[in-house]
Symmetry: D2
């Protein structure tokens, strides 16, 4: 008999969260193809991953809304989903919206962790869930500097109840709450999340797998696909300039320089790792209101070939962030739940191909990351 699993979305009513909910409902009802889902491919066919119909959705959000409301907004502003799909999936969207709790904002980390865990337990009990996974799809936080309190679990726990200068940002609270319960945790954003020796210790101790961070959906995906080609052909990249323009909630958040800093850093690390030297590079992210949930990236690569000749490669990528991210969130939820069942504890570095800043490995080359993923699947009978 099938597992019954709970997917807990932090930032549930955002574009990504709502598209995840719509997607699970549409897949279950046979209203959509599984295009965009990595785990729909032949590679993972033998793993016995949880089916869309096995999922119940819940989460936290600072907004009071519903998945349906949010989906209607994406439809009107950005042309996502069909009218028929929205209508048919509305019962699920509304039912699952009742599982979304108001996010803690004013508590100390210790209090917040306690509240999140209580919410998770109530969710699990209400639906008699076999397993839970927590995925952070909330807006990007400003960079958060780790200190000595993050060097060990003991130090972190001692500082948890500190009220002024909280020891964990919101993303860290959710990571702590999940891992502490032995629940799988995925950080799809560049926020702090589970990064630090303390949280890694916690994960291993409580036998919780975790993965992150910052879903690799567009421009960075292309960089980590294309840079290996320049390296293999021994073409010297002089400069790689990337300009991203985007609207929507994500764009608005990133137009705040503090939040943007986290994102740009996450996007800019891949080239030196792949090429073996640091070309001049620039990544800009600009908010363009009229683009709504759509993003256009323009990248200009100036490179040198044989006998000093300079050449240029340019691309434009016109993608919809929620649509690109949502299936990867479902993939990661399925894989993290699977890893937990297989007894995996700690960081899932084998899932690097899903992330801009993969945890547990410095590998940035997409195709080498893919081989890590293939090996992971192979080890578990896929």
């Amino acid at each position: 008999m099938a597992n019954r699993v709970g997917l807990w979305l932090v930032g549930a009513f955002g574009g990504v969260g709502s598209t995840v909910a719509m997607g699970l409902s549409a897949l279950t009802r046979g209203l959509a193809a599984d295009t965009g889902l990595v785990t729909a491919g032949p590679l993972t066919a033998g793993l016995g991953l949880d089916a869309p119909a096995d999922f119940v959705v819940g989460g936290h959000d600072v907004r009071q809304s519903t998945f349906r409301e949010s989906a209607l907004g994406l439809n009107e502003r950005s042309g996502l989903f069909t009218a028929r799909m929205i209508e048919a999936c509305s019962p699920d969207l509304l039912a699952w919206s009742d599982n979304v709790q108001l996010a803690p904002t004013d508590e100390t980390p210790k209090e917040a962790v306690a509240r999140v865990q209580a919410d998770l337990r109530a969710f699990q009990k209400q639906y008699s869930l076999d397993q839970l996974v927590v995925v952070n799809v909330a807006s990007t936080e400003p960079p958060f500097a780790a200190g000595p309190e993050h060097a060990s679990l003991k130090a972190l726990q001692a500082a948890l109840s500190r009220a002024d200068n909280p020891v964990l940002p919101a993303s860290g609270v959710y990571a702590y709450a999940a891992l502490d319960m032995g629940v799988a945790y995925v950080n799809f954003t560049p926020s702090f999340g589970a990064t630090s020796p303390a949280l890694d210790e916690l994960a291993r101790e409580r036998k919780a797998p975790y993965a992150g961070q910052d879903g690799k959906t567009g421009e960075t995906l292309l960089k980590t696909v294309l840079a290996p080609m320049f390296a293999a052909r021994n073409l010297k990249v002089h400069s790689w300039i990337g300009h991203n323009i985007l609207g929507g909630g994500d764009g608005r958040t990133l137009s705040d320089p503090a939040n943007k800093a986290s994102k740009v850093k996450s996007k800019d690390a891949s080239l030196p790792a792949i090429l073996g030297y640091k070309p001049q590079s620039l990544v800009s992210i600009e908010y363009v209101e009229s683009l709504d949930d759509w993003k256009t990236a323009w990248d200009h690569v100036h490179f040198e070939g044989f006998l000093g000749t300079k050449m240029a490669f340019q691309f434009t990528w016109q993608g919809c962030d929620s649509i690109l991210a949502a299936p990867l969130v479902i993939d990661l939820a399925r894989l993290a739940l699977f890893a937990k069942r297989k007894g995996h504890a700690g960081v899932l570095s084998e899932l690097a191909c899903f992330f801009k800043s993969p945890l547990g490995t410095g590998e940035q080359d997409f195709f080498k990351q893919w081989r890590l993923f293939e090996a992971f699947v192979g080890r578990h009978g896929g």
Copy 2:
């Protein structure tokens, strides 16, 4: 002591051939970096490949010219090479030009093979060469249909002296001549070359390695790098449209529809092999005189993501064909000479990553091709 090796270029005075000659001279004289040479990278460092200084250049051409003349033309029309490089390398360019013989055009295949072999032997003797390699960098021929005469070596040999309806096009004559002498042969063009059971039989019998075909320098390279990404992410490619505009000799040759047919076919095969289905696709090649040796490719990829949303990826590639091709020709010459020393006979399918239409394997995914190459190097102590 170092080998002394001869590189015999068919179509020597074309843009690629002249850039190969300039490159070998400039590398030997320390006037250029080894950028663009795959075999300058760490992967092949332990193989003991021949150094640029070990090479002597010769070849055939239908034109009477010199490498220097051709290089000056590339400099004036397309801005390649520096004045200083041309001056310093002129002695080599002029000396090597004397090794270029007028190509046979009116003989029967049998007579032409005999003449080519006599020229190769004279070249080898004159320079006391340890080894030879023949590389076809001549203009693309119209498609040539194989018949029953190409099904076995015996049948081919019987038909070789046929005067009307010759059994081998020019590219096949050179392939035959080289392989029959046990000399390594590389077809860098989409022309007929060594494709057919008869020539494969010949190669294996005479212990000659061969590789081909059609050097993967630009748009197709990108296709075979990018298509695996769409496949890995389960994004459905609806259409992939590629328009190539180019000038120079190559552009002029390809503006003849018969020659273009060979090229377009070679460029269009990769997508179905990688994606597992056939998207709508189009490859056009147009001659634009003012571009000279430069090429611009514009590719438009229309793909579907999650929940039926269509997105677009576009790129422009502005490359110089001679500059991209020449180092790969040197790489292939070095690797084919090495393979011959290692006793390899027949097709070098492990060099698939260098070709648009790899012989001996259906693998089109650049990164899987790269793994074949890594395995080849590994087997031989690299």
Copy 3:
């Protein structure tokens, strides 16, 4: 009191025709802004042009369908219109669909003209219309060569009843029918329409204004805007390559080489007229099914500046043909109705800025065409 005017669309149920109907209804109902309508600007404010609410729509089509059906198709396949707009405008769309008659296909030109005129008279009578205008928005026909029968009205009339080798293609039948009734006629396509001395004679005799041809909506509009800049700056255009990929009904029609020939010819005439010399140029149009009603044009302009330096300008235009064309159809209908009221007979060369192949003038420079339009408006008190 307001005029009551009839807009008769040839090819009514196509993308353009259906968007015109949707637009007139949505504007009347206050559901859409007048964005994209040239005649909504200040220039023509004083002319007393007919308001959207003054229009009744009818037409001919070879298909049996409704405007609503066609609009739903555009919505589903290409994301045009909102659900609310479709619902609110459906009564108009359905009512107007009843005014669309089956197009004549098997008659001689003489019989077809008679039937079209009967349909126009019935439409005028049913709605007590003060004026009529006929606009051709049907699919592009193959090129039609004018002969001696088109040199004078008399010769044409003598040949009209010819059954084999008909003297007028469909587009010419509608032009004849309209002009003969003294009704304004606009050819928005590159088809034959009203081009020929015979039809011009007819128009002047019956006091009917006409305009054409081939609405300038996208790539050609940009060419005629950009080429004047290259001319003004004395930059020498070596080559101008334009590749258009498009889906939808228009794309399918143009994938037939015979129809494409008309279009390419219409698109390729502007550069020499503006630049004063003929650069190398190419215009390709390719059908890409997945693009539906959307079109992407990629243009590459290679030009020379001071001291022989070559530079490049490239653009991509991602537009929706129906959406770009429909407001211009409404503009032209309003202006042709106005011209008829002002007593204008014969060709409206002052409307050149709306067309790829303007009739009555060789002017291709968009800004000089705009000055012709301004002068026309000025002469009539605008």
Copy 4:
């Protein structure tokens, strides 16, 4: 008999100044076509403008160098000019380099003006010049705020000898020096130059014509050509994002945020003036070392058409700044010398089509600016 005229370049040894010198020499020697020169076209043919052979070049620079040295640098780093051209023009380049004086940097404005004027007089005397024109092609200065001292000539003169907080930046010193001598002055940069009531008063009093500012060579030229099309078609521009990447001296200067501020302001003013409303807009300028004297601009225009449909237009412009700017500098020098002969005093607003921030007019639409220029030529018998 021909005039003998002096062209005094401020920032003479920069890329633009050196290309101007090379251009005048190459044109005189018949080694280059007049491509890129607006005043080589038919419009100004009847004005009797000074021929290239009539010019002597001099100037100021903070660097000690020669035009030849600078031209060789452009050749090596950016591929400009041919070897033959450089060799043939070297005598002129070297002779003119002797006319370049070290620029004043530490003096009070009053002292600097005196020194500049002495240098101009010596130059005029040495070559028995009939007329002089001063053109500023120096690097962009940081923004300079005008104060009450710039409100009238009297107030300015009173403040000229102020040592701390100098009342004029370098560009203003040259403008003052030229205008005060009745010499024509052109500001090809966005620097302060002749902007202010005080300098305008000076120009009119001394009968000196002046023009500016900031040569319109690339991205802004395109904006002012394309925006009128969007306006004429009533297409609503939601956002216009422009990213410029460039190397060379200009790029390095602009990578200083203070200097960049002047440039971005100059580039961003045109859209609201042409469209009649302010779309979201962004202009970035980034220094990319490997591009040398070349610039790539990527512009993304997001616009709305009929019935709320959003569409996109993107372009890339790959131009060489010195090559685009130099002929315009020669045009402006010829036109300013001509205007002086015709008795023009004060601002030459009719030359707006040459500038990003035209002085004396708010007109930004390139084609309306062109009509101003045509009218100017017409008034003077062209």
